[in-house]
């Protein structure tokens, strides 16, 4: 049974509000969108970047995730949960979280967290090429979902994630603790960020 919450995004072109859905599951429709819409859009973006001579370091990442394989691997496992944002009948972003990891920040070391294993907005919502995203707010919605799940699971809103280099500012501005590049060589020097219970409470507050 999938829980659906009504959320609002902002249209990147007009600035107007857009009603959208936050769903607490990744289903077949998302895998189909990823295959038939995300990947071609991503390839078109890379083609344009090559034509414009943009250096590889500035390219969007996150193209190597094989959703179908991953979805099959975690099927039925309680340790993994997925979220997606739907607007205009299309998948605008997806996240997958793991519930069996522990916090690293000194104030909460060893306590369970919701670890964001993967979070991505659809290619047309990405800011590369200096073009306005189709919808703004997809990343925040997925981050909010992870925090809310952490609260529901009794983890008090604690979450952790490894940010892609170009997204570090986003997570800092969301009030997360930057614990620096991960020392484990397997983590490709990605910086690790954590949200404490207190920061989560502030994040979720209705002002």
């Amino acid at each position: 049974m999938v829980d659906v919450s009504t959320i609002y995004l902002v249209d990147g072109a007009t600035g107007s509000e857009v009603r959208a859905e936050l769903r607490d599951s990744i289903e077949d429709a998302q895998l189909v969108d990823w295959q038939l819409k995300w990947r071609p859009a991503h390839d078109a973006l890379i083609r344009e970047l090559i034509q414009k001579g943009v250096s590889r370091q500035q390219w969007p990442q996150s193209s190597h995730w094989d959703w179908r394989r991953k979805a099959a691997q975690v099927q039925g496992l309680l340790a993994f949960r997925g979220f997606c944002v739907l607007a205009d009948g299309e998948t605008q972003g997806m996240a997958q979280v793991e519930l069996t990891k522990s916090a690293r920040a000194p104030v909460q070391a060893g306590k369970p967290i919701v670890y964001i294993e993967y979070l991505e907005a659809a290619p047309w919502n990405s800011p590369e090429l200096g073009r306005a995203p189709r919808y703004r707010g997809v990343g925040t919605a997925l981050l909010s979902a992870a925090i809310a799940l952490s609260v529901e699971e009794g983890f008090k809103g604690r979450i952790g994630l490894h940010s892609l280099p170009q997204a570090e500012d986003f997570y800092r501005r969301r009030g997360m603790v930057d614990l620096g590049p991960d020392p484990d060589p397997g983590h490709q020097h990605l910086r690790y960020f954590e949200m404490t219970a207190e920061q989560a409470r502030a994040f979720l507050t209705e002002e």
Binding site: H42, R56, S62, L119, P127, A132, T140, A145, A148
Partner: protein, 166 residues
């Protein structure tokens, strides 16, 4: 899990997000980009890598494939194929080279050397690669000159393969 917040709550946060990139997770990172940044292995000779990109481009067009069709046939990402064809600095994934060797029916080891993932132990291949890269020009259609350059180079790749028991 449901998350009930007011419309204003969501809109304020969406506006704060602005045009920020939001990607997270090791699995979201593109290993090709990192590999390039780390310079973990000695840079393979540029000329063989130019030849590798040209080779993939010509072989693909000879078969009348679009990038997407080749990606499909070789079980690879179209975006990586684009990079291979257009960026001489790019060092491809091992699996990519294996899949391309399989798809184009040329020896894996020679293609690995061309791609810079294995050390070429003879000067012959490098010279042939340079000649090949020089003779082949990037064009929409495969010209007869390109075709013959490609034929000759495929022959070199196959003949000069390391003398190993198969």
């Amino acid at each position: 899990m449901r998350l009930e917040r007011s419309k204003e709550w969501w809109l304020a946060r969406a506006r704060q997000e602005g045009d920020a990139a939001v990607g997270a997770g090791l699995l979201a990172a593109n290993p090709a980009v990192e590999q390039h940044g780390l310079e973990a292995q000695p840079a393979p000779a540029e000329e063989t890598r130019i030849a590798f990109g040209r080779f993939v481009n010509l072989m693909r067009r000879r078969r009348g494939y679009s990038v997407e069709q080749l990606a499909e046939a070789a079980c690879l990402e179209a975006s990586e194929l684009l990079v291979i064809e257009e960026d001489r600095h790019y060092v491809p994934q091992l699996r990519t080279v294996f899949e391309l060797a399989r798809t184009f029916e040329v020896p894996q080891q020679r293609l690995l050397q061309l791609a810079g993932l294995a050390v070429a132990n003879d000067d012959g291949l490098r010279k042939e690669a340079v000649r090949f890269a020089a003779r082949s020009e990037s064009m929409q259609r495969l010209t007869s000159e390109e075709s013959s350059a490609l034929e000759a180079f495929v022959a070199v790749l196959s003949e000069q393969g390391p003398k190993r028991a198969r």
